[in-house]
């Protein structure tokens, strides 16, 4: 019962091989991928391509940022992400004509966040298993979104907001700015605030955290509410930039997000992790996808390579953790 909280901090401070691997693995992996890329194709190391790579994954990256909190606090995973993305997108475009783009986008965010809040209540307060809860809410929400739209494509009206979303500031696409902005808010939230410490504590040892008067239920619930909001944001952004939306818009995003978080080194056990690591994970996933096309691999190989890397990364991490006596 005397479990210490947040083993991550101690892991980082110690100079064990495991800690070093943990800290360096992401930059090394990115470096390796960049090197492979430059050898593979002359067009890889261009501003255009690299911008594309970041741009393509910024929307999904937002979800990965939220998923970090879910995992860190021991919430395992949020499988309702595709439904929240769809809701965000569809509500925004659906309400655009009657409410104006800005308000419609806010409505979309609101609906998706509510989905996240429901998850939070079920998981944080009713203590229902997150996998089941999010599967359930995801089913309901996705079904609802299809019911509302009746099967068609919802087209967007041209609007100032969508032009803005598709534009670039200082040569960097707005999508990337938004991702950076959210990451800059969330990283210190996890690393430096009380809420961040609570999240790490709840994931590390629920009972101990509860005993130390950490608002455990709220913390767990908040992680899911946050992910719901970010998934909705992703949907809103995609809808505005693509000019249209369909209920399948978010398919597979939950797996991409989970993969990015795991590759970044956050443990599914909970109790350690950082938003910065997830950013690294997003970058790695993005580079893999880009390289597959540039190297001419069949696109079906993406899952194979990603899965293998996940196993490798987690396996090595588990190996070091075991050596350090933490498993």
């Amino acid at each position: 019962m005397n479990q210490l909280v947040a083993p991550a901090k101690s892991l980082d401070k110690s100079k064990t091989p495991g800690a070093l691997f943990s800290t360096l693995s992401i930059p090394i992996a990115i470096l390796v991928l960049v090197v492979i890329g430059s050898i593979a194709s002359p067009s890889f190391l261009t501003v255009n391509n690299l911008t594309n790579v970041l741009n393509a994954n910024s929307a999904v990256g937002l979800i990965a940022l939220g998923m970090t909190f879910v995992m860190v606090s021991g919430g395992l995973a949020d499988l309702s992400v595709p439904a929240n993305v769809a809701m965000g997108a569809l509500v925004t475009l659906g309400a655009q004509e009657s409410m104006g783009t800005g308000l419609a986008a806010l409505m979309g965010l609101l609906v998706a966040s509510m989905g996240g809040v429901v998850n939070g209540i079920l998981i944080g307060y009713l203590r229902i298993n997150p996998i089941i809860a999010t599967l359930g809410t995801g089913s309901v929400l996705l079904g609802l979104s299809q019911l509302l739209v009746g099967g068609g494509i919802v087209y967007a009206q041209p609007s100032a907001l969508s032009t803005f979303v598709k534009s670039s500031i200082l040569g960097i696409p707005v999508f990337i700015w938004i991702f950076i902005f959210v990451a800059l808010i969330l990283h210190p939230l996890l690393a430096r605030t009380s809420f961040g410490r609570w999240s790490l504590a709840v994931g590390g040892n629920y009972q101990a955290a509860q005993a130390s008067a950490v608002p455990v239920r709220f913390t767990k619930a908040a992680a899911f509410a946050m992910t719901g909001f970010l998934a909705g944001l992703c949907g809103v952004l995609l809808a505005l930039s693509n000019g249209q939306a369909r209920p399948i818009i978010g398919t597979g995003y939950e797996f991409v997000a989970i993969t990015a978080v795991v590759i970044g080194g956050t443990s599914v056990f909970g109790g350690n992790g950082s938003v910065l690591r997830t950013v690294g994970g997003v970058l790695i996933t993005a580079l893999i996808g880009n390289l597959i096309i540039l190297l001419g691999f069949p696109s079906q190989a993406t899952g194979l390579i990603t899965g293998a890397i996940v196993l490798g990364a987690v396996g090595i991490d588990a190996y070091f953790r075991r050596k350090a006596g933490r498993l």
């Binding site: 594309n52 009746g150 099967g151 494509i153 087209y155 693509n242 249209q244 540039l294 696109s299």
Partner: protein, 328 residues
């Protein structure tokens, strides 16, 4: 302990319920297709559709419902949601329900064969809509109502070849791999290029699953890799064509490849008017559904129908874009 007893009680109760009701219920095997020419009022059709919620399939379903209502036929729509295995199971269910006719939207070529054999044994006629099944399966199907996807592939090849004077590099943005539509549209395209002896060179083929976002992401990378070597683009539907055009616009690069798409979407019509897209092929979904049900009803009445009831493929390009209505 209690749970175990519960299960046994539950199963026994349920089985008993079914059995008792079954003995007293009407015979579930209605006289299906007894060659009763004439009225189909009150008969039942089971329609295994591709999806309940899809920009093309939904209007097709509505068309089917409209045609069924007009003929006084009871239509039950079940959706396989893009999974052939689910559809095969649903086909079996339809057969065991003893309906009078079955309309099937094959999600792949061969998974329905056993179900079709059963339908044949039970004397229930089957008509296929929109996508062909494999040859063996088609022998068990009375007729096929839909656009000729293979032909669409051929037409696209002709379009690109003509517009590019038979030389140049092209990329193919294909639909979901393994999907019947994708197989047909790819097959028709490749076969036609070969038989024309076309000088077009396929730089790359990507699968974007008929999804705009996936096409966008793949296109960005294609443009990065090949740049202006891409002189032509064959997108197997307009949504994916739109994804490519979006990527092109983002890249800011200054070349205009010849883009051909399929489906006749409203967005594509606009793009054609603006000169960004070269052409599309009109394929009206509502009419597709109507036509399929009408064909099935003809079969149920005992009339002979042609093996294929085609939905016309209409090419839409800058010349006639203002004269026609988009399909969706």
């Amino acid at each position: 302990m209690i749970a175990r007893r519960n299960i046994l009680v539950a199963s026994a109760a349920a089985t008993l319920l079914f059995a008792v009701a079954g003995c007293t219920a009407a015979d579930s095997g209605t006289d299906s297709a007894s060659g009763d020419a004439g009225s189909v009022e009150g008969k039942s059709i089971c329609y295994v559709t591709l999806a309940n919620s899809h920009p093309y399939v939904t209007p097709a379903n509505e068309g089917a419902q409209a045609a069924a209502d007009a003929a006084g036929v009871e239509l039950t729509i079940v959706s396989e949601e893009f999974s052939a295995q689910t559809g095969a199971e649903q086909l079996n269910s339809c057969v065991s329900r003893g309906v009078d006719g079955i309309l099937l939207w094959p999600a792949d070529e061969n998974s329905y064969l056993p179900g079709l054999l059963k339908a044949e044994q039970a004397g229930i006629p089957v008509v296929a809509i929109d996508t062909r099944a494999g040859d063996e399966s088609m022998e068990l199907i009375q007729s096929f109502a839909g656009a000729d996807k293979y032909d669409q592939g051929k037409i696209s090849a002709q379009q690109l070849d003509g517009a590019l004077d038979s030389t140049g590099g092209i990329v193919v943005i294909a639909g979901q791999a393994g999907n019947g539509t994708e197989i047909a549209r790819s097959g028709g395209f490749l076969d036609e290029l070969e038989s024309m002896g076309s000088g077009l060179e396929i730089l790359a083929t990507v699968n974007a699953d008929f999804d705009q976002q996936k096409a966008l992401v793949a296109s960005r990378d294609l443009i990065t890799k090949f740049g202006d070597q891409i002189e032509g683009v064959y997108a197997q539907d307009d949504t994916m064509a739109k994804g490519f055009l979006q990527a092109l616009e983002e890249s800011g690069l200054d070349f205009v490849p010849v883009v051909v798409g399929i489906n006749g979407e409203a967005g594509a019509f606009d793009n054609i008017r603006e000169g960004k897209q070269f052409s599309t092929i009109l394929q009206p979904p509502f009419r597709n559904g109507e036509l399929a049900i009408e064909t099935l009803i003809s079969v149920m009445k005992g009339e002979t129908v042609p093996e294929m009831v085609p939905l016309e493929n209409t090419i839409v390009d800058i010349d006639n874009v203002d004269d026609l209505e988009p399909a969706l």
